[in-house]
Amino acid sequence: MSSETRRTNHRHVELAQKILEIASERGMRPGDRLAEQALASLCNVSRTPIRKALQVLLERGVVTTEAEGGYALSADPATMPRLEGTAENEGESDVYAAILRDLAAGRISDQQTVASLQRRYAVSRQTVQNAMMKLADDNLAERAAGQQWVLKQFAVSSDAIAKSYEFRLATEPLALTMPDFKRDIPAIVSLRQSMLILRSMSEASFDQKLFERTDFDFHMLIAKSCGNPFMSEALINHHRRRRSSPTAGHANLFRLMQSNLEHMQILEHVERGQMELAADLMRVHIQLSQSQRPRLAGRGVPPAFKLVSR
């Protein structure tokens, strides 16, 4: 597949994801009809890309064609994890993801040229340039003198996770108490539905992908709703960067299940307008999410200092 075709395809997958979000926010159920024109207006695009996006959903068994033409949902959007192939997890064959992965794994240094990356990944100059531009857009790379690019090592280092929590602890509770915070009730209702589905799952059946989607959507919802464009921008960028980072760490299922319950509690308080309480719970949630395993341990070894490792 050419990189151009792949990019086009990614755009359609992203649009398909957007359609699912809209369907979820509107509480749509299997069998409900997806009207192309309405979707085009809501997504601010023409009907042609909407048709392509619906085709993507058809291929993945999320919608069916109707006898009289058009498409209808065949799955409950609240139960669905993020679609494979969206920009954030397209990664495997993509140079953007490969650069980040190799940087995080210590395979490449933070100083690179387009030529050196072109050699490493055996792709065209244009492909590397596009990837670097996208990394720059996401604040993961910047131009240096001459032909050099500097990749932001701090964003993928082992310390990045701890620093990210530190940043979120300072900002996310604050976002909840911004004076112009605007509650997006349809989005809250739709999220709660997905969270309830997660809550009904046992440790053995817990759907990690669905959790990842609701986790991201939940924190993005707070960021988008805070009513302060500067705060909103900082948090949205941070969450996106967090999602594209290969150093996501490993969390135990039990913790993810607890995390889901904490999300639900925060959301309830947001819905009721108890923003100070929601902010306090967010503080607790972020602190509980940090792993405090000792760095070193062994028989007869003196007490160890701590490492935040998730």
Binding site: R107, N252, L296, A297, G298, V301, P303, L307
Partner: protein
């Protein structure tokens, strides 16, 4: 409704014991009990990750600041020595530190147990804590070290790395062991006596529980014993593996379809970055994928080969399950996990029962023993490729893994622990006459006779 049984688990401050206890606690929770963890100072944050309550003995700040450079400098050389030479440089000082810890935590432990009022206590350690013997509730000993920790005339001495064929080395090692641990043992015996308990036999710091003792060793590596262990009191679990979330291996820059090897020497064993880098250099030339646990030193690695992925932590059971080879230090948990999933081991020990497990790996044909430092690139390559291609060993290990998984060690452990809560509390082995127990908690209790472990087990010091 009967209240849920509270089971206090007290693993030593090492990852092996801690993670082993987590497996048991997960099963206790599933059976409706309330497992809680008692944590050594500074050793917390692990259990809460799995959703268990943690109670720390003392404050973090009370412990003196650790100079890790000094610690590593002191022990790096010891880890290059033979088990015999380590007796002086590492084993003796480690027993001193262990006894120090046991004495230091006694009072907070006694107070905490009184507060928690558990129905049973699970001790996964190598040393006794009088507060546990005197708590007035049944206590269970988990032997998460190699089986050699429970001595027998036919079992090689603990920590010796000796072969199973008795030789002069056994006696030579045991004598030296007794000598290097003598001062720690004297102090410890005095401490137990003061606490109202009988001092243990020479070289022994923890006697079997009169209620229940759980051993991990699966049948495939178990030793013959002259003195049969009482099956009521000593249960072999055939592995004790916790449940972890599934692990998705990362995308490598090459060899993505190749067999996977995991390399982990425990959090302490990762300290020798130079040795690890030497291994990685060899890995770069082999057609396999390698996951390397670099622990605290993850950021020390640059120019990592395309078929190698380094991280500070892996959910080990979920990774071993997918691996074709596990290179480790012979930590008993790692060794048992490899067997539980039918994966051959290359054991490169550097201390403690790692030596015993390395020898046992070779003797029982479940992998290879490689000196941690004395290997050439060709030797490491040969060890890896020969195990990767040994179909007969793999088939035998897979058959054994089926048996181990069917044995459901964590479930049996949890059930047996809950059963002990119905036993009547035993009077702890008392100190010589004229010395009263320091804790009055057992005074006046019905002196029903406790089950007695086979005392011959302790006749032969390690």
């Amino acid at each position: 409704m009967t209240p849920a049984k509270t089971i206090a688990l007290f693993p030593e401050a090492s990852y092996g014991a801690a993670l082993n206890c987590i497996g048991i606690a997960q099963e206790l929770r599933r059976l409706g009990a309330t497992p809680v963890f008692i944590c050594h100072p500074g050793f917390s944050g692990i259990f809460s990750d799995y959703g268990f309550a943690e109670y720390q003995l003392g404050e973090d700040t009370s412990a003196p600041a650790t100079d890790w450079n000094d610690f590593i400098e002191r022990h790096q050389d010891a880890f290059r020595q033979s088990p015999f030479d380590q007796l002086e440089s590492y084993v003796g000082p480690t027993w001193d530190a262990i006894v120090d810890t046991a004495i230091r935590v006694e009072e907070p432990l006694r107070k905490l147990i009184a507060r928690l009022q558990p129905d049973a206590i699970v001790l996964d350690n190598v040393v006794m804590f009088p507060a546990i013997a005197n708590a007035g509730v049944p206590w269970v000993r988990v032997v998460s070290c190699a089986e050699t920790e429970i001595p027998d005339p036919l079992v090689p001495p603990y920590l010796s790395g000796c072969t199973e064929t008795p030789s002069e080395d056994w006696e030579r090692f045991s004598e030296r062991y007794r000598a290097v641990t003598a001062s720690a043992h004297r102090r410890f015996s005095g401490f137990l006596t003061q606490s109202g308990l009988r001092p243990p036999p020479p070289s022994i710091f923890l006697e079997p529980s009169p209620y229940l003792n759980l051993l991990l060793a699966p049948e495939i590596i178990r030793h013959e014993r002259r003195n049969r262990l009482d099956e009521e009191l000593f249960q072999f679990l055939d592995g004790c593996v916790r449940h972890e979330a599934p692990y998705m291996p990362p995308r490598f820059a090459s060899h993505n379809e190749a067999p996977l090897a995991l390399i982990s020497f425990g959090s302490l064993g990762a300290m020798d970055v130079a040795m690890m880098k030497r291994m990685i250099e060899t890995f770069s030339k082999l057609p396999y994928r390698f996951l390397v646990n670099a622990g605290h030193w993850r950021d020390e690695y640059r120019d990592v080969p395309d078929n190698v992925f380094i991280d500070a932590w892996f959910p080990q059971p979920s990774v071993v399950e997918q691996a074709s080879l596990f290179i480790h230090h012979g930590g008993n948990n790692s060794f048992c996990e490899a067997l539980y999933f039918g994966v051959p081991s290359i054991v490169m020990p550097y201390c403690w029962d790692g030596h015993d497990n390395a020898k046992r790996t070779e003797e029982t044909g479940v992998g290879l023993h490689l000196d941690r430092y004395g290997w050439s690139e060709d030797e490491l390559t040969y060890a890896i490729t020969s195990l990767m291609n040994d179909a007969a060993m793999r088939a035998r290990l897979k058959d054994n893994a089926v048996k181990m998984q069917e044995a459901a060690g964590v479930k049996r452990a949890a059930e047996a622990i809950l059963k002990t809560t119905q036993k009547r509390p035993a009077i702890p082995p008392s100190a010589p006459s004229g010395i009263s127990p320091s804790s009055g908690e057992i005074a006046g209790r019905d002196p029903s006779p406790p089950p007695t472990p086979t005392r011959e087990n302790n006749d032969l010091p390690p």
